[in-house]
Symmetry: C2
Subunit: 600 residues, 2 copies
């Protein structure tokens, strides 16, 4: 099996031509993000992803995490790889310098995160969660909490978890029951059972900081009575020294379809006297405080979709180039050819490639907007970028993972029967991808968030701003002399019209029937993702067209970018009409049947 190959050329193209790294590097604090530094970081990260993380992905899947003496034991090689990761300073890449990080922009971190995920999602989950805990503590933790936990989370000596789910509280966190009793000394004692806790316990390092949603005794019912606590696996005194084990126990590991190397734990808090927990932020504001990092976490899972898709594509294209089977259609020689020559195999590879490049482009454009939303000097720019990020977050999470899943499945298809054999590795990408459309909020939850909070609450203002930017690109494409660009422009124009139409329908409908609007929320998310990615591919085609020159070493890359954009326009963007039809005309029938009708 080939190892993961970092897609450096395309990342460079997107950073430079679409996501505006120069503009980001000019924001205060990001002076280090020069081209030289960024290129070096990407190069080094790529080498690490390919050389250290990628090799343990398959073996980790086979061996899996296993409980031994009450603690999950990680597969062979994982401890060493994680130690190298922490030593390399990768954990703090985008953490601010005051906390010991390198303060690189999210834009650069997102490009690097795609690589970790391409090499191994099972591995990448760990720093992703630690990063989430760092962000929450940094933003709402007390000074004492920060001092106690942050330095060794940033260094990667310790790791973090997000502890939300309980058997009765999955998508609906307001149903959380885990109880927190004030101990009288400012700390709390937590008790309750949590499930589906990713990296909830492991032997990669000495300590784990759990961020736990729980209810303080006597708190109001529902979402408004939930608080957030930091609960360490081992106690840490104020000097930072490690003490005894806290009252948190890994009861069991789930046997999952994929991500076998990732320990997914059932955690019991407070089997004895109660787990010592420290309140993070104010009491009863736990959900809000958790939501501080929800955007980042959802975006991070979106990048899992991109990374997995890229890995599945690399595996498929390698197989298609090597596997000789059948003669070329229409050829009279009868000579057998590699299957990449067969039109339908090419179609699958193009479908994978074009969607991956489209997702990467949109992902990095959104990451740049996150940087601008936080650091741009102009308040209006900050607000506009914030609105764009908010709007795109459910799309990045939902669309990237749905397409990642589909691409991973297509990767198996390219392999034929070989893809069904575990040894090939192609099956693992599908198994691993299958959770990405579910955790951190299912695609359905993302779609509700999109339609309810992001489209309808502001009466369509945010989406209209994006549509205006899309129309600008459409006009540039339509006015170009290059036939492919004009064709892309036509498809994009039609798709934008469909998007606009569907958005208007939702805004109007939501006023009198949220159910009717939400019936089309899934297809609308698909529509927005399809068009937003097509918009970025249109920009990519324009940039490539501008740069094309026979003397450039990357001239073939640029020509292929135009072909890939055109493919996206004809094969993917063309779905917009059907999606819009479903949103506008398919809602009533979705709700029409009695529940009893599902019984038989």
């Amino acid at each position: 099996m080939n190892q993961y190959a970092p897609p450096i050329a395309d990342i460079h193209f997107v950073l430079r031509e679409l996501a505006g790294l120069d503009e980001i590097a000019a924001l205060p604090g990001f002076e280090d993000a020069t081209w030289d530094v960024t290129s070096a970081v990407l190069e080094e990260a790529g080498a690490f992803a390919s050389g250290v993380i990628s090799p343990i992905n398959r073996s980790g899947d086979i061996e899996g995490a296993r409980i031994e003496n009450g603690c999950p034991r990680m597969p062979l090689g994982w401890r060493d790889a994680y130690a190298q990761f922490a030593r390399g300073g990768w954990n703090g890449l985008s953490v601010r310098k005051a906390l010991g990080g390198q303060n690189l922009p999210r834009l650069v971190a997102a490009a690097v995160d795609e690589m970790w995920n391409g090499a191994s999602v099972a591995f990448a989950l760990l720093p992703m969660l630690t990063r989430g805990v760092i962000d929450v503590l940094d933003q709402v933790g007390s000074a004492a909490l920060k001092a106690r936990f942050l330095p060794r989370l940033v260094s990667g000596e310790w790791t973090g978890t997000m502890v939300l789910t309980e058997p009765q509280a999955g998508s609906d966190l307001s149903a959380v029951r885990t109880c927190a009793r004030p101990a009288g000394d400012g700390t709390y004692r937590l008790s309750g059972t949590k499930i589906f806790i990713t990296y909830g316990d492991h032997d990669l390092c000495e300590n784990i900081v759990h961020l736990v949603l729980a209810r303080v005794e006597g708190a109001p019912a529902g979402a408004k009575g939930i608080s957030l606590f930091a609960v360490p696996k081992r106690h840490v005194n104020e000097a930072g020294a490690l003490g005894e084990y806290n009252d948190v126990r890994c009861v069991s590991l789930e046997r999952k379809l994929g991500l076998h190397a990732t320990p997914t734990c059932v955690l019991a808090f407070g089997d004895q006297a109660g787990a010592v927990g420290y309140l993070v932020g104010d009491e009863n504001h736990g959900l809000e405080n958790m939501f501080i990092i929800m955007n980042a976490a959802r975006f991070a899972v979106g990048l899992e979709g991109v990374g997995l898709a890229e890995r599945a594509y690399q595996s498929a294209r390698a197989y298609a180039s090597e596997r000789v089977q059948g003669a070329e259609s229409g050829s009279s020689s009868g000579a057998k050819v590699a299957i990449v020559r067969h039109p339908d195999v090419r179609r699958m590879l193009m479908s994978m490639k074009s969607r991956i490049e489209a997702m990467r482009a949109l992902a990095l454009v959104v990451a740049a907007s996150m940087d601008k939303a936080e650091w741009h000097g102009d308040q209006g720019e900050r607000a506009a970028n914030r609105a764009f990020v908010e709007l795109m977050m459910p799309v990045a999470k939902g669309w990237f993972t749905e397409n990642g899943l589909d691409i991973a499945s297509m990767g198996i298809q390219v392999h034929g029967g070989t893809g069904f054999i575990e040894e090939t590795g192609a099956a693992q990408y599908l198994r691993d991808a299958r959770i990405t459309t579910i955790y951190e909020g299912t695609t359905g939850i993302q779609a509700m968030d999109l339609v309810g909070r992001k489209i309808c609450r502001d009466g369509g203002t945010a989406i209209r701003a994006v549509i205006r930017s899309m129309r600008d690109v459409q006009v540039d494409l339509e006015l170009d002399e290059h036939g492919d660009l004009r064709a892309i422009g036509r498809q994009l124009g039609q798709a934008i019209g469909e998007l606009s139409n569907a958005a208007n329908f939702l805004v109007e409908t939501y006023r009198y029937s949220t159910r009717l609007a939400l019936a089309g929320s899934g297809p609308f998310l698909d529509l927005l993702g399809t068009v937003a990615c097509g918009w970025q591919m249109g920009r990519a085609a324009l940039a490539a067209r501008r740069l094309l020159a026979p003397e450039r070493v990357d001239n073939a890359f640029l020509q292929n970018k135009i072909i890939t954009s055109r493919f996206y326009a004809d094969h993917i963007l063309s779905r917009a009409t059907a999606l819009s039809h479903v949103v506008v005309h398919g809602a009533e029938v979705t709700l029409a049947m009695d529940e009893a009708g599902f019984a038989g």
Copy 2:
């Protein structure tokens, strides 16, 4: 976990209203297929599927087939279940009476086969393969071969295999190398290694009859030098008594993504003196003779798609009705509801349900056509039905399995995080479904067959005949007073237009560029499947509308059928425009890029 529930009511509806069981029962030889007999068979088969096969599906997946003392040992309970299956006479359900079967129409057998697959594809594969071997021997085997092997294949005392694939010969069987040396006594000695042999060895019965593709020494190269042999696992003398083991050995089992209970074998033929094989049909006509049963085998795999989809749907709808999570959108009470009340979950369930009913309808209509193609008294009717069956076969195989796969994946999505845990069982349906779009010819191979042999070779004659029948249904729908039916008619009309347009493009294009036509073959298969299933759902809506009456006990069923048809029209048929666009406008760009462009 709930056991499989046979969808008897819908099968009855399709048999009676769409597939014309009465007409089939009037064909010579099918006098037994009365409504009483058919109902009893369906009832009994349903009970067997639910009570005997379904319970071993999950346990079989967990335990898997394992090699023990050189022979694959089947999981606990499988031996007993198979013995009951054979004792019940299920193996010979549609085998003609002269061979010891019951000679029920393919139409009835197809309905029953869906149930076996719904209960366990891993199990259903075994009788499916045995049935294939029976058909080949019956049609082209010598009298001696028939006498030697058929009785105990029909009774199910022995089972059969199709032994085609070699490492270098997968989709391209012309590359087969396994060698057959004439032994001078009319028999041959085979040697070679075959892979991916489903049920290639097992301990469910005493003997196995392998149908093996091999090359007689000195035969021409390529497809025209391949012959077909019957190679028993154990020798059988002319009196039918079992003798020594033949020179066939199961070298290993593949470790697969799914179908864990099914032993998928590497078989070594002729490690010692050569495996004794009996020529089936004429020398060098092996591929043709294998293709005799290819239609049946492909159709059978299509039914795996339908069965798996139904099983995944049953699991999802049960979970959605039981799982309480979140309040109803737009409701002020805040009371938590079962997730089936959430619009996007309903949308997924409706999408599953409507496609399953559409596939079942088309499957049984095609099965009825198989019966008519063989037994109708009128030659023109036989020819017309044969043409329809030929045209629909790649669709039944390709579209049913692609949609089965998608529905199995959607089933996991409905389960949320629980679906990713193997214990739930939902993950198994996806794992099992993943091979169905690959074996017996990948979807890409089906699509090539469809466009090349079924659409373009006759200049579009066969598809035009089908389009004419579709237009008749469209007209009936459009003229109906019921608003839903008129809406279905409009969607169907538009979709037929797109189909017609795409078919014309292919017929014209194929004349000058097979590659350009084949570039759209996959989307065209999707288009034809989408429209053909929509046509059947249109017929279903018309029948339901005609039968609707408040006093009927099945009135709710009929009303739901109209809703489901309408859903299919708005959510699935509406994709036709995009698919046709891809066929007509997306072909050139699919072929545009240099192969090197796939490298990075």
